[in-house]
Symmetry: C2
Amino acid sequence: MKTDTDYKIIPNGTITSPLGFKAGAAYGGINKHARFNLDVSILASDVPCLAAGEFTTNKIKAASVLLCQQILPSKSVRAVVANSGCANASTGEQGHLDASNMASAAAAQVGARLGEVLVASTGVIGRRLPVDLLNSAISRINLSRDGGHDMAKAIMTTDTVPKEIAVEAGGFIIGGIAKGAGMIHPNMATMLSFLTTDAPLEQGFLSSSLKEAIDLSFNMISVDGDTSPNDSLILLSNGMAGGEPIRGGSERARLFQSALNAVCVHLARSVARDGEGATKLIEVNVRGAASMSDARITARTITTSPLVKTAVHGNDPNWGRIVVAAGRSGAELVENKISLDISGIPVVSEGMPLPFDADKLVAALKLPDVQINFDLGLGPYSATAWGCDLSAEYVSINADYTT
Amino acid sequence: MKTDTDYKIIPNGTITSPLGFKAGAAYGGINKHARFNLDVSILASDVPCLAAGEFTTNKIKAASVLLCQQILPSKSVRAVVANSGCANASTGEQGHLDASNMASAAAAQVGARLGEVLVASTGVIGRRLPVDLLNSAISRINLSRDGGHDMAKAIMTTDTVPKEIAVEAGGFIIGGIAKGAGMIHPNMATMLSFLTTDAPLEQGFLSSSLKEAIDLSFNMISVDGDTSPNDSLILLSNGMAGGEPIRGGSERARLFQSALNAVCVHLARSVARDGEGATKLIEVNVRGAASMSDARITARTITTSPLVKTAVHGNDPNWGRIVVAAGRSGAELVENKISLDISGIPVVSEGMPLPFDADKLVAALKLPDVQINFDLGLGPYSATAWGCDLSAEYVSINADYTT
């Protein structure tokens, strides 16, 4: 994202905005709390896609994740089928059969082969996929060029809004949807994101550009520090915009990277802002770090601190919690070098507390966007992370379930 | 703790139960929310003590912590002075002067030299110690043989109960007090613990036995994952029980270690149970780990998971969250080897969900003590960690402050 003019946001854009992609969704009755009465969805490309993905690092992996990891990277993905309401995780051998059957039903519906269909699930852990409900829903899905909006709705769990975007740059389009740390009782928060592009990409560049974009975006958000067995991010490139495959190092590669970063940052910020019970987005900008990993870990630790999150929730100008979260991050830190401002109001300079107008700071904390700008004063590295406040609503979403 | 008969709990025991220790407390008006109207306290020994301590790993360290680290380990500590209501952290050079003055006032009060007095503070970060209030309170403290009870009260912040214990074993006594993750607005949770013994200890054994006891106890508890710049644990040994110094490897050393472990585990469990907003103690027993560090990190990760903590709070038999927290701990884990029971009710065996009586499990989760027993099925190592549930009350304690 060197400049804003590198790419253009497409009004009402979504995952089916790039050429040659269609999607659709139906309701199978698997997610009893589906906000838009959709819980099964399919994304398909008219032609085979180059595809890469990033998946949960949890050692407990859902059947859908293991299925995708067997297929990816690939040069011939045709479709992604997704469901909410059941994670199909901790389900043993039966779970693998069920995920494979889900892929098979979707392949039949879109006219693809089995190894060309990826699967994503989110929902209750430790329960079997209701295969009949799922197959019935898949058979009712109609794909269309504006079906991306329905798919963005069908993957939601406790998300309150769908998350979608598309941008145009240099003659190609990138689209994306995501769901965030939503819960339906009783299950795990799961992050799913699907990205599409009609840009023609060289395979190595596809993977490296995806990695860079994720490191700047999805790997820099936190809602509650727990990771799901189902987290999945998939990028499909069908090349239908035409032209030579984009290779790393070129001007077109720079344009593509800039646009992909923008799409991923937008979706990741949307996920953080819509975290369970969240009322505010917290953006943490760290600079002056002695290394890139120090910059990242400092930013991430501040976004995950329950004490910072509750202070922001309560509009409490309690800057000590931010400083001390940085102090436990593991990053190199020297107390008399650090400086801190909150939403533009300086509170610490070179380790010493500054007098500040508490009313003004409280007013700034009441806004839906809170910025924490932390300078380690040690070196040239910087990083940005996003999180959300911690509210009593988070607790009630995740606790108020009894059988 | 080989057997319960190794040591005997002293009824109404506290930090002044060992021979030659006295303590006292007064109210200086520093902690406006002092539950027992006490906020400054002194512990003193009739004779110089061998002393060792463990302190916060946070790179931001309170002035009191830096002062103690300059003195310890030592063979001639006479007293510890503590205050609640002001952390004296992020206060720069002035903070160091204030901490030193606090030690100096206490030294005068008990007739010790400056380098013989340790300091501990807990409370608001980034504000100066109110030195006049502090000195006035110190001058009003009367030391007595049962003053440990007052000191246990004077170090409390949002703790709801004082935490103290003393045990007898092999002709000596070990006493201890602690305060937990309490808050007064607006500050950091801080863990303080002071331990005393009249057992004569060889210096090397003093340090190694303290390290072992802490690793089994205070290093295995979590309330919210944040660490304070003020965390301090100090052990004083005055040898007044008489006899030869206890050396590692002897039968007396084993007795001492067993008693010290019991004191530390009792205090650490009390801190976890009294975590902010907590309604339950969660004990996580991990066994079958491939290494000791795997056992410890698995147990600790489960106690810190917000999703596990909220599920326990809501009596939600949502075992998937426990399995998945273990899966992200970093420990070696193989899905089809793991087994799990919750308070004695098996829910997973070798990776597969078991049918269980949900009503019975909900009833077990409603008790004030919840046990999570997790078997990794990979090796001989085991560990226990303690935490607490996460309630809306935690959020309101930490958010509902405005200037």
